[in-house]
Symmetry: D2
């Protein structure tokens, strides 16, 4: 959250809890001349799992090898699954591929946030099953790929999408109200995390037309949920959720309009947390070190 130094290393660890983990991690960093900016831990007492996000600075020029050495140390000596990212001057920004259909509010919102520097990453390409958003994408200097999807061509279309992702070097896929279900095969072949925004307060109103479902049930709050996409639709690990109050006066178009504001904010929050290496997934749930 706080301003970071010019170069920093962020590590996300998790694994079996044991005594002394905090001391060993911080000791390792200290001995190599690093200075810890943030360290946040979580222990799931029931599951016996330890989670940590630690961010530290190193003297100039020592970033890359330190990151690699830390990963070896954490995995081999501490038995922790580990992701390490370099941040700041000189480090490559993570590349995001945006999937979108015709609904454009999340698309424009993300564009504006990346442009304004709110997101530590860059948009590598826009992929859509419709051609509608070509102009604003290209106006922004973003490669736009129109890949129509039908029942018949779904396998080929997904192969094409994966090909574009590889070519773009995408590290993250963001489904900005992309109205197609991604197959399990796609998720495997893509090999990068996929963040989706569902326009309800999951697990309520999973599936299609959630605002219509919410209206029919007569709920007094509507919601939006950002989650990692998994093979089970709407069942992936939840990253962020928010709700807005409605009354009997709100008809379905009102729910849709109000919901858009929720969707934009919740999706942007999830994407930013992901790009800042704040999210650990465990047991189909997320640990978010904000």
């Amino acid at each position: 959250m706080q301003g970071q130094g010019n170069h920093s290393i962020v590590a996300l660890l998790h694994g079996p809890d044991k005594a002394g983990l905090v001391a060993r991690v911080s000791g390792w960093i200290f001995e190599r001349g690093g200075n810890i900016l943030h360290a946040d831990q979580h222990r799931d007492g029931e599951a016996g799992v330890f989670f940590q996000r630690v961010e530290w600075t190193m003297p100039e020029g020592l970033g890359k090898e330190t990151a690699e050495a830390f990963q070896r140390f954490a995995e081999q000596e501490l038995g922790m699954r580990t992701q390490v990212a370099l941040r700041g001057a000189g480090a490559a920004l993570p590349v995001v591929a945006i999937f979108v259909s015709k609904q454009d509010h999340c698309f424009y919102d993300l564009l504006q946030r990346f442009r304004a520097g709110e997101m530590p990453g860059k948009i590598g390409c826009v992929i859509s099953n419709h051609d509608d958003l070509r102009q604003p994408s290209e106006h922004e200097g973003l490669p736009f790929y129109h890949i129509p999807v039908t029942k018949e061509n779904k396998t080929q279309a997904e192969a094409q999408q994966v090909e574009v992702l590889k070519r773009t070097g995408a590290n993250l896929v963001v489904m900005a109200r992309y109205m197609q279900i991604l197959s399990n095969d796609f998720l495997k072949a893509a090999g990068v995390p996929v963040i989706n925004i569902h326009h309800s307060f999951l697990p309520a109103f999973a599936g299609g037309k959630p605002y219509h479902q919410a209206y029919a049930r007569g709920v007094k709050l509507i919601g939006a949920t950002a989650h990692y996409a998994t093979a089970d639709l709407d069942e992936g690990p939840i990253i962020a959720q928010d709700v807005a109050r409605i009354t009997h006066r709100h008809q379905i178009p009102d729910l849709i309009r109000r919901g858009k504001d929720l969707e934009k904010i919740v999706l942007a929050q999830a994407v930013r947390w992901h790009l800042e290496s704040r999210i650990l997934v465990y047991n189909n749930k997320t640990v978010v070190f904000d």
Copy 2:
């Protein structure tokens, strides 16, 4: 919401929409010397239904017959289903029966609110399947009925409950975390509305142990829902809902603790709205004129 005059009449109407309803209702009141304090309408365009809550004052002594005359007018001439209540000096307060088990936070909260004058009604009795809350009930001057419920005696226990309700003259049953399911037969025999508090954001996590369900799913918000009880458990018309933010740091006891505050506030809100004649039920949903 605003302070009321000393005597007022509150009418809740709903029925097939047609032109001139607002004019005819307000005209009827005006011609009889009444002064409208509040009038709130709602039209469900899709269903073609008109809803109204109207509250007005009458010159002293004209309350009761005016109320009855209005009901005849609205039902016979306008074709509206109508409930009319007299409020203020001289009018009888609605009587509430509280059902409770061992969880006592909603019970104490309601007690304090009735005592403080927040609720336009009075508690007529407390009914529980455990004897634990006898002392605080009787200390408050409230008749306490311990009616144990088992699988075997459920029918007789419910008959006993209905008998107490009739004797108490209860106009409303409030299930303040009463951990038993009321049968359809009970609901029919009781013949008065029943408000229940469910400790989740319905329709998410219906059924038992909702906080455990919420923890397992990894949601980022927990909720509470007050609804009218119907034969279908957790499926009745929703009156009020609220949520609170949680993180991965919150374990199940934390969810339970935070949830209690939601439950208290949401249940109290629903009870108050009901006692103020603000709620119309239609199509298993509520219109709340707050």
Copy 3:
């Protein structure tokens, strides 16, 4: 809130309360063949003032003269100050002038909402003291006026702004983070309402650099306030407010980033309410019929 019919008339009234106002207004409409879609009243008991928003449909072709006749009726026979607007097919959309400086998040947000049809109005022009947003304005087809403002030229600059407003036929000015104070003379000469967004929870942190003030005081929530601009800076009638939770971890740049989301939503809400004729101003406060 609900969908409107094709043509409708919206009237906002306020004036001294007296018996029968609801009946007389609804009777007048009913007698002329109108059908009330919505009618919402408010009485300020203390001040003895009656407020009403009423929206009704008329048989085709009768909109304009009915609107004028209603205004005469309400003013002359009921003694009410009255604004009447025609909505729907054939009625002119209200014209909005957007004032902006360099901060562009509210600007882009409003553009997207007008483009998406969320706002019952159209943007007539963009006026800025900087030239930065010329390209995106003109790309959207909006006339852009760069009117630099200095201490020395303020009077002439404001005269130029007023001239543009008149030429544009603006019915509303929206200060979308326009970082200049509009003089009382400007407000008078412009002759149309001006909505401003202040980036704090007023009356807390009025004046400059509110996020810095909030950080220094150590508050746990930050806010945004949309209000009508008056001669007294930050003292005008409040239309909408919202807040977001912060912690000690949030530094000033975090407050600014989170605040932007609040500012966008609160400003958009206020502008939409205004364009839908939902706001009455009285006693430096607003009555919002949402």
Copy 4:
């Protein structure tokens, strides 16, 4: 937040930031056989200050001397101001003195929470300038001290209050809507932290009758603020805040009623955080490790 082991040590540290602090603290604990349950850090980059809350378990019987040794280590070797608390079996619970006047909602709410085990502390006594709450206090088994306060006797009354606090062994004073200003002399003589609840969103509407001020200004949200009391009324470090939405329909009694729910929750949250050693005060602001 998570369940704690049977005995644990909680340390709150703050002081000049320097490299290696996390490593040295965690190393010290690890070398003595301790196991860190939670460790949370914060660095105020601007001020160059390091803050930490660390909680760890020790093998049985080693709690007290370890706590004292840690305090010496942190103060002498790390140059940190340090508070250390023992928690769990065998450790003394912190003692709370509740100050109250006639408004009783926070009083009853706290009673219920302490009784329900939500608070890791115990109420040592109730002190009031009125006699109204003697019965419910004594019914709960709590010593009740009626100490009337007038302009004339204020100094003596405060001396009496201090005497009661000393005799009770109070570690914390909670002003549960105590409608008297505590003098600077009292705060010094009491020598323990004092938590107050102010019924507005500070710094808005400081001073008397904040709901009346809020109504007059026409705000759309009302708030409550829990803070440590200091010599400057309403200017102390803010611990917790919350808000609720209001509309033009809410009159002052509605604001007061809704505000009570905010006050109860915000005050209870602040007291619980304090009793769990989660709050560090620095620069008239709080760092809350929740």
